[in-house]
């Protein structure tokens, strides 16, 4: 019997160690307060501004090991980063308005008109749904922040481009081809649909009764029902943070149970992503079972999606049961990312390219700062509310 005991005890110990290392490593959540999360978002905003040239173009990517910039560019990532600068303005940081306008100007110089709509694209290339969606959202945030309504008609024209890309199923085609003067058939974007949907809902919030909600609703159904994944060939439901923004913008009154269930499902995906991230140290055995700390843009999308749903949950009683858990995940994500952000003491090759940024295996890209910044702003809101309750 002693032998049986020894063998089984050894198996338990090995099994327990394997369980701890492989299946359930600790979720480390470095503490951070509202001020810390906000300061981290500001540092990311400062990176975007420091890496924005006079013509409103961002430094796209940077390798801190070689000290080289990435010469590529992505208009949709530019547009997303521009939107996040306007989020900072909306959070009360007025000094980001000028650089946000400069980045917006870069996009507006690329608008073109066709029929009754306008879209945004590099000269000669296909008009992109997602870029146009971001421009609409940025223009509307600018409108809210400044009271300037001079872009209202342009916002509507851009919105009509989104509607022109819509299929009867609610799907949104991602491109419009200038050669054929038609939407490119059967071409969809994994994120463009959510970006454009968010724009439609924001348009309806500013210009009610003009039919924007009627356009948004079928696309909401297309996403919430899982039709998008079946039609567009995805094996699993997409953790669509832009759809989370759209749900937040729609607000409780326009969400039926199907859309509330959609919000719950999205919150689950974002939570899983943030929990896994909290388990990553990138060192020792953990590296082999959880790999490197994730790409900042990926972590940031989960954080900002969760933030959008958390803000919705503060008004939507059907999400009451998730509010505290969402706040906990956001705080954990904010602590993790604030701790990973490059400070002056961590600089390897270029303070301008590194301070305030997040790197994945030595490389950072403009959207890394964009997404994490947005997530941190949301976490700061949640933490502030929590701190106010406790004081």
């Amino acid at each position: 019997m002693k032998r049986v005991l020894a063998v089984h005890l050894a198996l338990w110990l090995i099994g327990g160690a394997a369980f701890r290392i492989v299946v359930a490593p600790p979720e480390a959540c470095p503490p951070v307060g509202a001020a810390g999360a906000h300061a981290s978002a500001i540092a990311a905003g400062d990176w975007l501004v420091a890496n924005l040239d006079g013509g409103g173009r961002f430094t796209y990517g940077y390798d801190r090991d070689t000290g080289e910039d990435n010469p590529d560019y992505s208009l949709v990532r530019h547009a997303g980063a521009t939107m996040s600068l306007f989020q900072l303005v909306m959070a009360g940081e007025d000094r980001y308005l000028e650089p946000a306008d400069r980045a917006l100007g870069y996009l507006l110089r690329r608008q073109f008109e066709h029929a009754d709509w306008s879209a945004v694209a590099d000269r000669g290339s296909r008009a992109r749904l997602g870029v146009t969606g971001f421009v609409i959202v940025a223009l509307l945030m600018r409108r809210d922040a400044t009271g300037d309504r001079s872009y209202d008609e342009l916002s509507r024209r851009l919105g009509r481009f989104v509607v022109a890309q819509q299929e009867s199923s609610g799907a949104l085609l991602a491109f419009w081809d200038p050669d054929t003067e038609r939407p490119l058939a059967n071409a969809y974007g994994p994120f463009a649909t959510g970006e454009a949907l968010w724009a439609l809902v924001e348009l309806d919030n500013r210009f009610p009764g003009e039919g924007w909600w009627e356009a948004a609703d079928p696309t909401f159904r297309y996403l919430a029902s899982g039709t998008r994944e079946r039609n567009e060939g995805y094996l699993a439901r997409l953790p669509d943070h832009w759809a989370a923004y759209a749900l937040e913008a729609a607000g409780p009154e326009r969400l039926d149970n199907e859309l509330v269930d959609f919000a719950r499902r999205l919150a689950g995906y974002f939570s899983l992503r943030l929990r896994i991230e909290a388990q990553r140290t990138g060192e020792g055995l953990n590296l082999w079972v959880r790999w490197y700390p994730g790409p900042p843009a990926g972590v940031g999308t989960a954080a900002e999606g969760m933030a959008a749903l958390w803000r919705l949950s503060t008004e939507e009683t059907r999400l009451d049961d998730l509010e505290a858990d969402m706040a906990e995940r956001m705080a954990c994500g904010a602590g993790t990312m604030a701790e990973r952000q490059v400070t002056e003491g961590d600089v390897r090759t270029s303070p301008v390219r590194e301070v305030g940024a997040w790197f994945y295996r030595g490389y950072t890209q403009v959207d890394d700062q964009q997404h994490v910044l947005s997530g941190l702003l949301g976490a700061a809101q949640s933490l502030e509310r929590q701190e106010a309750k406790e004081s």
Binding site: G15, R20, A24, A28, G268, S271, D325
Partner: protein
Amino acid sequence: MWFLLLSAVAASNPPRVAELLSATPAHDRRRPLTVGAAITALVFIAAAGLGTQILELLELSDETWRIATGAVAVLAGARVVLAPLRPVPALGRDAHAVVPVAFPVMLVPELLLLMVLWGATEGFGASVVALAVAIGGVRLWGTADSGAVTRGFARLLAAFLVVVGIGLLVAGIRDV
């Protein structure tokens, strides 16, 4: 509550215990089985009672633990379904309640993880009720004869444990 009861019974798997102890005649099994069941129950009650503290100590959220428990349940269930059940050597009439009855036959990791999970999420009372049903089932079925029926039920419950594990995995992934 039904899910708690069924998952606890599937994880404790009374016919599996009967099969593993089948080298010992039924009347010689009763006493070590009763003592072993009591020891096992004490350990699991402690696990349920300390569920929240255990998760805090391990720095894990309920949802992550749910996924981990689901993974272990799937593996444990699959092992019973696929691998032959080898009875432990015959027990002495008044001995062997701790080894091998409580450990390793009854004190299985899948039930331990479930008790921590239920203790942390469903409350101590509900966990103890589920555990009482499971351990009671083991005590009642544990003296049954070996045979194709017992082995068949053991594998059926193990297959159900796989389903429970998949359910926990999905719930853990979808939970916030």
